[in-house]
Amino acid sequence: MRWINILLGLAVAGILGFYGIRELLADPVYFLELFLGGLVRGSIYALIALGYTMVYGIIQLINFAHGEIYMIGAMTALIVASVLGLWGWHSAVIAILAVVFAVVYSCAYGFTVEKIAYKPLRTAPRLSALISAIGMSLFLQNYVMLAQTPEFQPFESLIPDFAFWEPYAHIITSVELAIIITTVVVMILLGMLIKFTKIGKAMRATAQDKIMSSLVGINVNNVISTTFVVGSATAAIGGVLIACHVGQINFFIGFLAGLKAFIAAVLGGIGSVPGAVLGSLVLGISESFFTGYFWSEYEDVFAFTILVIILIFRPSGILGKHETQKV
């Protein structure tokens, strides 16, 4: 069985590699465009997937309302930008304030969702919390639909077309460049937070053993709240960036983006932070190549097929943990 898997994997990799190299030689610029496009997609997925994977790591819950937090980030940015735009403020100030408000609002929502929908179910069977998460997701979607509008709203990019970037803009636009750079910066900051700060270490400790964490004096509830807030903040940044890129948003954008990011998190190994980033990039880039070389209308089918394949052949994901623990 194991040999068949390896052989199968090698065969698929060989075919893909052969086609990849052929296409690369045939039209290098198109290939590069698709690759960069995939990188942009992957970056956005990564910003959302981090929230999924961190929350899963700490309380073993798939937070299905996470996509909605991302949508609320984009919505808040749209509202703030529209109002400030009417007042005629400078575009750079608008951009900064829109992002700040988006992050603050999303964090507030992420924090509240955890307190209302998950904390009372901390000791309940896992399925209860999962159902609660789906309920929260539906509630937030419909709440935003009622409070705002069901229609798509145009979202004017907060990121200007930089003049110095003009010569390369046909390969990758300023917005796309901004997305990649922002993502890299956010990842580095987050990595440092988790690795070196006290709260980061407390988050890792809590993910490994909640009772022991409380026995060394960690307030586990605060750590869980912090995890939701951090995940919401990165999702909000992702929401604003993608809205700038696509140019329109409505109450429903969080659903598909959330599912895709979830696939990315599972692909990388849910619960693992580097896994979420890797899974997102792999998913984004392979989606981009698939739509570019095969059928663009089957983009979502492709992503879900990947989910099915991982769940069959490697449910723990690329970087999923297998090691046994010593007790």
Binding site: A202, A205, Q208, M212, V216, I218, Q325, K326
Partner: protein, 235 residues
Amino acid sequence: MLKLTDVHTYYGNIHALKGINIEVSEGEIISLIGANGAGKSTTLMTTSGVVPAKRGTVELNGEDITQMAPDDIVKRGICQVPEGRRIFPYLTVAENLDMGAFLRDDKEGIKEDLDYVYGLFPILANRRNQSGGTLSGGEQQMLAISRALMSRPKVLLLDEPSLGLAPIIIRQIFDIIQKINQEHKTTIFIVEQNANLALKAAHRGYVMENGAITMTDTGENLLENEDVKKAYLGM
């Protein structure tokens, strides 16, 4: 210093502690011995606030801590080394020790205590960048005790420190426990199945059966007691 009065604890419908009274004075080493499932670990978990008592009170220096959250109890100076040591397996040895000092901000004091525990257990210093899960059982026990010491506890609760360890390591661990008690005047409350060892190290002992305290005396007297000899010392 630490006083449990008529403590009742339940796990769901199971009545695990049936009204126990234990008093630990400052600077003492107390051992609680008993068979598997007698409620020894539950006593410690109730003291630490992980499984709070339904009835009765737990007091520390006169303050009622019965219903406090575990982290608030640690703040007041009670620190537990739980059964099975519960090392954070994916944190390094140094990070595990950092977590022990989670509630402290005094950088110098932490540094001092870090040097102290590395002095007690030099092997930990050699392994400081290794992840906790890769240590041997004895090393994990040393790390667990060191992690607890990093919080500068007034009362140290130890749950089965000898469990699964080689006799020579057990000897070493108990020597260090007594050393900590003498050097820092730390009050120590040990829960053990290894009655002989635990009673020799202790000033006073309690015997527990089916969730109730059945006997209490000095360590020496309990070692000489015929019932204790028969039931727990295999003599």
